[in-house]
Symmetry: C2
Amino acid sequence: MDYDEFLDNFKDILKDNSLKYTKQRELIIETIFNNREHHTPEDIYMLIKESNPNINIGIATVYRTLSFLEESKIVSSISFGADGKKYELMLKEHHDHLVCTECGKIIEFHNETIEKEQELIAKEFNFKMTSHIMQLVGICQECQEKQ
Amino acid sequence: MDYDEFLDNFKDILKDNSLKYTKQRELIIETIFNNREHHTPEDIYMLIKESNPNINIGIATVYRTLSFLEESKIVSSISFGADGKKYELMLKEHHDHLVCTECGKIIEFHNETIEKEQELIAKEFNFKMTSHIMQLVGICQECQEKQ
DNA sequence: ATCGATGCAAAAGTTTTGCATATAC
DNA sequence: GTATATGCAAAACTTTTGCATCGAT
């Protein structure tokens, strides 16, 4: 999906919820779109202030917008260890994460066998699954080499 | 494992780290052993205060002890949504969680197919896996019936 | 007697809220 | 013009830290 298409989609969602399209919301969504890693609210706030020294934005707006974006399934969050919640775009195909405890790096992967098995488990427990979180925690190749 | 065996094990770990066996640590470990759900530090603190109105304990001690217990692999923590970190005993065989977004209930399960698949993924990325987190998020049978 | 543990209170974070003002529609 | 959004500052939480005192070894 390119940015224009993505932005239109975002504007539609705002309209559907009778919310307004503001400069701040645009900057937040643009920052998340252009920085495809996982970011804390603080990260996003700082990135915006750096790139746009002229514009005013408060951390509260970032929190408020991220909550709305998560509810609308535009972003998703994962939390690991002491790092707190990190947000990322949900544009991409569904995937899970490998998290390095040494350097904090997050690697994405997708595995169809596991996905199917998860469906079976949910069914077994009569659980209506809406999403799942899977993180393999360990030490990445690079950090192993350093040790 | 019964409590005496468990407690001996805990005492050994304390000794190995030249740490002391205190009343507070005993109460914390006992509370976690006797309440086999997932608890926040605050939960554990309140449970101890309720059952032992006579004894003095500070929330800082609970935090400090839980950190040590997690490092020592006696407890593990999961975090989901806004509820913050929740701790549970690691006594049991390894398992993963189904989390209900309606009532907060946590159901445990174990699936060997997924476990093996995870090993393969870690190998593929040259990742030295130390643990993993898997939570299937959704609505439990009971809450579905209420709707 | 020694050294680690504790409670308390203060500090450090992080996230949320209230409110007057600004802005999109 | 109206209703929502914003920034700011204060508040509410959660977690950590410093320190004098206490207690286990």
